[in-house]
Symmetry: C2
Subunit: 102 residues, 2 copies
């Protein structure tokens, strides 16, 4: 289970639309659809009701949302707690090059 699924789920829930979330995340619409389907399959629960003009959270989706955001929050805290040790001022590697942690 990739954490990106939670990012995508959060974006879709926030925007109420797959296409808007895709644009915001920099993914194509089908990629977002697949990620949502993948998460739904992993949790064995339908998270959105598909409507023509967008999507709406199901009750399971509404229960999931705060938990997903908690996970994302802890992940951000993780980066903050680790980084001080990661760069102790030594001339280690890249001087400014930062690869996306995905």
């Amino acid at each position: 289970m990739d954490v990106q699924l939670f990012h995508t789920f959060d974006a879709v829930a926030t925007h109420g639309s797959v296409s808007k979330a895709a644009a915001a995340l920099g993914y194509s619409q089908p990629a977002v659809t697949h990620q949502v389907q993948r998460l739904e399959h992993l949790l064995r629960a339908r998270l959105f009701d598909r409507c023509a003009g967008g999507v709406t959270l199901t009750s399971a989706g509404e229960r999931l949302l705060p938990l997903a955001r908690t996970v994302l929050s802890v992940l951000g805290q993780m980066q903050a707690d680790i980084e001080p040790d990661a760069s102790p001022g030594k001339a280690g590697d890249s001087g400014g090059r930062r690869s996306p942690d995905r």
Copy 2:
């Protein structure tokens, strides 16, 4: 970033050994080594000190461990909160409109 990396990190930290963790998780030793390296690269921090007879947590690893376990805990809670809706097998639907199984 797959959450499996946190499971593996937790197992290696708990067992103090890559091979023990691999056996416990059902992975090969190289797979666990790669997962740890991947996590270290993603966080840009060394998490273990490699010794001949095993591995020991660095200070960064010690700081990461509780956060990783928090993530895993929330993930478990997630399953518990979702499952009641996934297969309720009940009749009295409380207002929720459920589209017919496609």
